[in-house]
């Protein structure tokens, strides 16, 4: 369908042209990278054979950065410079992260935009920077293993993530210098990993409890199409909370409440995690903690532990009930329940999920790896390595998007669980005579009060011509793309005054901040950059010509008049004439001219492809009726 898809249907891709693509699961506790090789999809181990990369980053005094096990090993003695569970701070404001409870182990500073910065020996670092270090480490691992640069990756995010958190994840990937094909929701990735394996059909529930986030998604799988019916969860609930409950239990019993320092609390959290993991297979564990003055000996039974976390698990089940309702199905309609995330190993979780759905949950694929595997399958398809594959993922907006109206109330513009991409227009008017500006405040969430929702962005529409109150007509258009990212534009409809913004999260990085960070991380000399610019212009130009020739061959005579074909041939010749020259600017201009000249043709091809996709369908149905 696309002008760039040069491979004819049914024809295998030349193995030498296979593009290197990978799926990345950027987790709260651990991260992974996976790739498709031959017919197998696998997570990639490091030199020491370890697949899981602890999502831990340590900043050292000499400017070096350690990531993974090496950093995790130092977490206890160097807690202030060793950052764990950074995912919980992505896209959050300073106030949010200070209320996270278990993040007391850092010294924070605020950036100009209110984004939290963590003070380390290497200077202040943002959550986006910390995450990009983890991404770089994974990408490096994949490039070593695959023997070359990655063409692109699919990065997963919790489904129940708001726009600010998604933007922050995109920014981290940009900072790491990787091309992201798509942000994929973790439960959808897990369903892909299972779906393609078992050829299952019907409604699937994915229960995903990781270190720091909880997601529940319901999907319908139908002939390779994964249609998300509903999604829900809690972006601040995970195994870390289980650990914190155990740690606090120890602190209370030891009588040392209020006297614990950063390093000790961190050590306690590690101990708590170890105890939790032991309780998966044992009914009771001995607790023996000695941290400076803090000494505690005792016993923690599985029963005790289950009492400690009961309300957290119950909250997750409540979210499941809501997701089932939102999907318009009943638990009886659900064919399979998939368990994702390390925290689903906790017996109480398994038991309660099984009880609610009335089905034994599936955990055939390692719950720690299943998301990365699904992402790799999607990345391989998006890279164009399987042009015939029918797989399609249709996702939804996880949280409603709306505007602030008078009195601090929200007016929902796009409701949660609406299939994406989606666009909605809404009209507003002025409430004062001669009002010349209007403030637009975009929020995300389900609550009625603006103060209970997440603030995404504020922007001002200026230059509204003076009119009596209620006469101006301001049209606001919300567009959510297939990654779940939002952009908003506003226009005064009687005069055409426009204000447009890409929704930049209230706590995100500005475009110039990212550019500066990227610049400082590149050491390329000026002439290097020029040579690269020319090479890129040539490749782009050649690509556009190839794509258009292929499209003309396939559909030219059917969709274009002889005159139109001749005009396109002329534009192709014009670009060919400058392509081998040294002037990158001229090549770019001619490429743009050719692209513009073929706009109409591209639009007709797209219209035609929808028509023919459905036309084939009608004939099949007709045949069935005849039989």
């Amino acid at each position: 369908m696309t002008l760039l898809q040069i491979t004819e249907p049914g024809q295998a891709v030349d193995p030498h042209q296979r593009k290197r693509a990978a799926g990345i699961d950027l987790g709260t506790t651990n991260s992974l990278i996976a790739t498709v090789r031959g017919n197998e999809t696998r997570t990639l181990p490091d030199m020491a054979g370890r697949h899981l990369l602890p999502s831990v980053v340590r900043y050292l005094g000499d400017g070096k950065v350690a990531v993974g096990d090496e950093a995790a090993d130092a977490a206890r003695q160097d807690p202030l410079n060793t950052i764990v569970s950074i995912k919980r701070m992505m896209g959050r404001g300073l106030d949010d992260v200070q209320n996270l409870g278990d993040q007391t182990a850092y010294h924070f500073a605020a950036s100009d935009g209110g984004m939290p910065l963590i003070q380390t020996v290497a200077g202040d670092v943002s959550p986006v920077q910390v995450s990009s270090e983890i991404l770089k480490s994974l990408v490096h691992r994949a490039e070593e293993t695959l023997g070359g640069e990655l063409e692109g990756v699919v990065t997963t995010v919790p489904a129940y993530l708001d726009d600010a958190q998604r933007q922050a994840t995109r920014d981290a990937a940009r900072l790491a210098g990787v091309n992201v094909y798509r942000l994929l929701n973790e439960p959808t990735a897990a369903a892909v990993a299972y779906g393609l394996d078992s050829g299952a059909e019907g409604v699937i529930a994915v229960y995903d409890l990781g270190g720091g986030t909880f997601d529940i998604s319901l999907l319908r799988l139908n002939k390779g199409v994964f249609e998300v019916l509903s999604t829900g969860g809690d972006s601040a609930l995970g195994g870390d909370d289980f650990d914190a409950r155990i740690a606090n239990w120890i602190i209370e019993r030891s009588g040392f409440a209020g006297q614990i320092d950063h390093g000790q609390y961190r050590s306690l959290m590690y101990e708590a995690r170890r105890l939790k993991e032991q309780l998966t297979n044992e009914a009771s564990v001995a607790v023996n903690v000695e941290l400076g003055a803090l000494r505690f000996e005792g016993e923690l039974t599985r029963d005790d532990f289950e009492q400690l976390i009961k309300d957290l698990v119950a909250n997750s089940i409540k979210a499941c009930r809501r997701a089932v309702r939102d999907a318009g199905v009943t638990t009886g309609d659900i064919n399979n329940v998939i368990m994702v995330g390390g925290s689903t190993r906790v017996p109480l979780v398994k038991q309660e999920v099984g009880k609610f759905f009335g089905a034994e949950p599936l955990a055939d694929i390692d719950p720690d790896r299943v998301v990365a595997i699904g992402a790799a399958i999607q990345a391989n398809i998006l890279a164009g390595n399987k042009p015939d594959d029918e797989m399609l993922l249709l996702d939804v907006l996880p949280l409603s998007v709306g505007l602030e109206t008078m009195g601090g109330l929200t007016e929902k513009i796009i409701h949660r669980n609406t299939p994406i991409p989606v666009s909605r227009a809404q009209e507003f008017t002025t409430y004062k005579d001669g009002q010349s500006a209007m403030l637009v405040h975009v929020v995300q969430g389900e609550r009625e009060l603006v103060s209970d929702c997440r603030s995404l962005a504020r922007f001002e529409l200026r230059g509204i011509p003076p009119m009596v109150a209620g006469a101006a007509r301001i049209g606001v258009v919300f567009q959510v793309d297939a990654d779940g990212l939002l952009s908003v534009s506003a226009t005064e409809l009687t005069t055409g005054v426009a204000a447009s913004i890409e929704v930049k999260p209230s706590y995100g990085l500005s475009e110039s901040e990212i550019t500066n960070m990227l610049k400082s991380s590149f050491e390329h000399a000026e002439e290097d950059a020029q040579a690269r610019s020319l090479a890129e212009a040539r490749v782009d130009g050649a690509r556009v010509i190839d794509a258009l020739r292929a499209a003309l061959k396939q559909d030219g005579e059917r969709l274009l008049s002889a005159d139109e074909i001749r005009d396109l041939e002329t534009a192709i010749s014009a670009l060919s004439a400058v392509l081998d020259g040294q002037d990158a600017g001229a090549i770019r201009d001619a490429t743009q001219a050719l692209a513009d000249a073929s706009d109409e043709f591209a639009a007709r091809r797209m219209d035609d492809s929808v028509r023919s996709a459905l036309a084939g369908h009608s004939i099949e149905e007709f045949d069935e009726e005849q039989q």
Binding site: M1, G384, E390, L392, L394, T418, S423, V610, S618
Partner: protein, 175 residues
Amino acid sequence: MDFKQNYFEIFQLPVAFDVDLTTLGDRYRKAQGSVHPDKFAGASERDKRLSVQWATRINEAYGTLKSPLSRAVYLLTLSGVDMSAKANAPVDPGFLMEQMELREDLDAIEEGDDALERLDVFKRRVDEILAGLEQEFASTWQNDLDAAEQSVLKMQFITKLRDAAEHLEEKLLDY
């Protein structure tokens, strides 16, 4: 993009109130399969933009045709009747009386232990009324636009009532 096509034409369905939801769903997935942005991951910016526009339009068309109320409103739009301008149009007083009684019944459900069961009975009653109104619309929209308009206004009232019942259920279940 071909904006001349109406939503029924996009899915190659006859313009009618009765729509087979299985067929609609199948065609929706087929159509997305040919335009969805995932099919254009390596394409030019222009093709990506076209793909997002089409995928958005197909979602919009599917969303509109899937629910009976929005489908009815859309059919009236195609016939030149703009329902958004009729928010305050007069409705049959007998129906309004019935409405108020239903509202009172719903408010009364909140008290008492068997609230959920009584809410279930109430929802079934509302669904029956809604089904009747849909019948009414189906038999009038092609020959009596005024009557069809009345049916839609009533459907809007009843759908709001249905939402309020759902809202109460969420509250009772403590979501």
